[in-house]
Symmetry: C2
Subunit: 343 residues, 2 copies
């Protein structure tokens, strides 16, 4: 597609700030001739980093100065009240004002969510924003929401997550009718809590391609591919971090086994290239980038500890969402679902 996209980058966000955000975003610029960037943050610092990257002044690379920076442990309330000129807030303002089509930040999740919600407002008909991301699976990948924006989501919220998530998955995966599963503690109808059982009824009678309850295994493996898995944010966040912990433990155990003695160290030398291939397949950096859904504007959250490869992936997700007009499509779909319900 030839639509041009402008992305506001919160250059100061994340554990590494401009050291990561700038080279990563410039990588994306090389790959996509229709992309322009606005780096938001300390102008001098950003200029220095751009220079170091050999980046000339260009129509496609702009700087928007912001005097403040959101710290990783700043509370959302404090950020809303006292950091109105932070790189995060100013980047989101650019989206609100139509000067950018999306914002990407590696800043702290709570502050980013609170600011995005305050500045951009919710899509009419959506009660709560949700965080969606992609996980690797034996079938390729799966999309999951909510990953922690909400706790105690009711049936109606879960249904809204399903409607929004489906639109995003259509765009990201280029498929027409993504399958949707509800995360539960068993596949039988009688299992689960009240919210999940009531949500199942809403999903069953909807336009969504609902396939029923799925268990935790379905996030990475399971018996069949599910394009979108819907759950409450408390459950989704715990599941996501459990998977992170499991992967870490397996990595540590593998390393220990290969480091055990001289013989195993020799084996390690031989197996390394094969393992590199294996790691690439499930590299979390290639899944970095969580989208905030339900807002009147596109905001992608990168992991705070993202490196250049990982942050670039988050920027690419924002690009795809802009190209496919995901926020607008979600809004239209929500209005349609609402009007069908009223009629």
């Amino acid at each position: 597609m030839s639509t041009s996209s402008i992305i506001a980058i919160d250059a100061m966000g994340g554990d590494f700030g401009p050291e990561v955000t700038i080279p990563a975003s410039l990588e994306c610029l090389k790959d996509n001739a229709n992309l322009s960037l606005i780096f938001v943050g300390d102008e001098k610092l950003i200029s220095a980093h751009l220079k170091a990257q050999g980046q000339q002044n260009s129509e496609r690379v702009n700087i928007q100065h912001a005097t403040q920076k959101v710290e990783m442990d700043d509370s959302p309330a404090k950020v809303l009240r006292t950091k109105k000129d932070s790189s995060m807030r100013v980047a989101i303002n650019l989206v609100r004002d139509g000067e950018a089509d999306a914002c990407v930040s590696a800043g702290n999740t709570g502050a980013l969510m609170a600011t995005a919600r305050f500045v951009l407002k919710m899509i009419p008909g959506i009660d709560r924003p949700a965080i969606i991301s992609t996980l690797p699976s034996v079938f390729g990948h799966t999309h999951v929401l909510d990953l922690g924006a909400n706790v105690d989501s009711g049936a109606e919220h879960l249904f809204q997550f399903g409607v929004m998530g489906s639109e995003l998955v259509k765009a990201l995966d280029g498929i027409d009718n993504p399958t949707v599963g509800l995360l539960n503690i068993g596949e039988e109808e009688m299992k689960g809590n009240e919210q999940v059982k009531m949500a199942a009824q809403l999903f069953e009678t909807s336009h969504l391609n609902y396939i029923g309850f799925v268990e935790g295994t379905a996030l990475n493996a399971g018996s069949a591919k599910v394009d979108l898995i819907v759950t409450d944010g408390f459950v989704g966040n715990v599941a996501l971090k459990s998977i992170e912990g499991a992967a870490k433990m397996i990595g540590v155990a593998l390393k220990e086994a290969l480091n055990k003695n001289l013989l195993t160290k020799l084996v390690a030398l031989v197996v390394m290239p094969v393992l590199a291939n294996f790691k690439k397949r499930i590299d979390p950096r290639l899944y970095n980038g969580a989208t905030f859904l339900g807002l009147r504007g596109t905001v992608v959250k990168s992991h705070g500890g993202a490196d250049i490869v990982a942050f670039a992936n988050a920027v690419k997700i924002a690009e795809v969402e802009i190209t496919h007009n995901v926020t607008k499509k979600i809004s239209e779909r929500v209005q349609l679902v609402l009007s069908e319900r009223e009629s």
Copy 2:
């Protein structure tokens, strides 16, 4: 210790029935001279299997005939109503009647929980039973409950899980003051749902060695060892199965990488013995065996698909719990906590 232990084995339970339950239990008999077994189920079938295993009639190996068998998809209600002479029910009856000190079953979880609760009754002061199991971690292992017996656990339930789980961990790990963490979506106090926040207050003011909130990563990795992690059954079950799925996916990716071409297949030959070592470290069979806590009797649930190594591990868990009088200790501790609260 020289206390003698009698374990009732639901010989017919699980995907493989006596083919697994009998040889696995006989393995445990070899290792522990103070152990006796009562195999419950079809007498003829059990006799044949014992004979095939070269097992002579002995004081330590008894058979209790039962005419029925609980199927993996039988509903708990159906089992309670129509399967009063099932191997599962009769094995639990033996515990109630003091003829066995514990029961081990690989039968369906819902039916086993419902039957155990109905036959054995709850410990006074405990509202709901909970399922606890052990997970491998980078620090050795961690115990987690509840894994699916309860959904929508309130603060008081979570606290009861903590009290019961601590007593079990003391026995299984031989430690005096196990650390206890509450599973949450962040380590900060303000995060989480109402149940978790209120539970934190109960934990903080209790005798438990409470260390605060932990995230999903703590189940297998995390920043420090936690002996016991407490959560609602919906969340715990999803987390457990998410970890299962992640491990499966990583295994599949590893296998694919090693099977890619002739060269990687040669590498695989070299690396196999090292990988065998690695697998052993996180072998789920060595963590098989979930205990039902809160009942007036010891019931250990094996995974339905358990093989001989895995089922034997579940039997060993029951042995340790009998030796350490875990059920009695939990009951005493609960009465103490209750009386302290009243005073």
